[in-house]
Amino acid sequence: EAGVAQSPRYKIIEKRQSVAFWCNPISGHATLYWYQQILGQGPKLLIQFQNNGVVDDSQLPKDRFSAERLKGVDSTLKIQPAKLEDSAVYLCASSATTGGDEQYFGPGTRLTVT
């Protein structure tokens, strides 16, 4: 089966610009996760969707970050405006259900904010 797809793989923007990332989970997976991984740190969960509803977004900086999963399949994560500290790898993962099912990770998008 196809894995989790993400695009773009790399993005360089200037601070205060906006950027969007796209994720297509494994077919049939109800749960989708967005993580931020800053260099030298572990992934930090930004938002978790169950189908098209939000399960947890407690660590999402909502003043600048937004995410949607309109039809319960693919998802976009947006940053507007970007700050230097947003430089990180943004990982998307999916699992069949919530509750600790194995998460399948995509390759990530490496964002550099200059």
């Binding site: 894995g3 989790v4 996760y33 993580y35 030298g40 740190q41 572990g42 992934p43 930090k44 969960l45 978790q48 399960v55 947890d56 407690s58 990982l91 993962a93 919530t98 509750g99 600790g100 194995e102 998460q103 399948y104 990770f105 995509g106 390759p107 990530g108």
Partner: protein, 112 residues
């Protein structure tokens, strides 16, 4: 807030040496525990997981982990490492609220 601690940031071993990577978490209730691995140039992938039952869990490629509830620990072990085990290893915790927390990772380098 919960936290997951991985005390070994970078480990260097020779092939055939034994491995133990530490993981401690702060949540006091029921948790699910995971070890994920990221080989160079590859995606994060699941190594093993613990939900309940036998606290000694066996995963892929000869890895195992032991859940010690009294110590809030879930240490990863392998009796004899290979060069191909060179990777970044992440411990993760999932609580009943379905929040996931990852540790900062341990970089393992195995010298042939």
């Amino acid at each position: 807030a919960q936290s997951v601690s991985q005390h070994n940031h970078h480990v260097i071993l020779s092939e055939a040496a034994s491995l133990e990577l530490g993981c401690n978490y702060s949540y006091g209730g029921t948790v699910n525990l995971f070890w994920y691995v990221q080989y160079p140039g590859q995606h994060l992938q699941l190594l093993l997981k613990y939900f309940s039952g036998d606290p000694l869990v066996k995963g892929i490629k000869g890895f195992e982990a032991e859940f010690i509830k009294s110590k809030f620990s879930f240490n990863l072990r392998k009796p004899s490492v290979q060069w191909s085990d060179t990777a970044e290893y992440f411990c993760a915790v999932n609580n009943p609220g379905n929040q996931f927390y990852f540790g900062t990772g341990t970089s393992l380098t195995v010298i042939p």
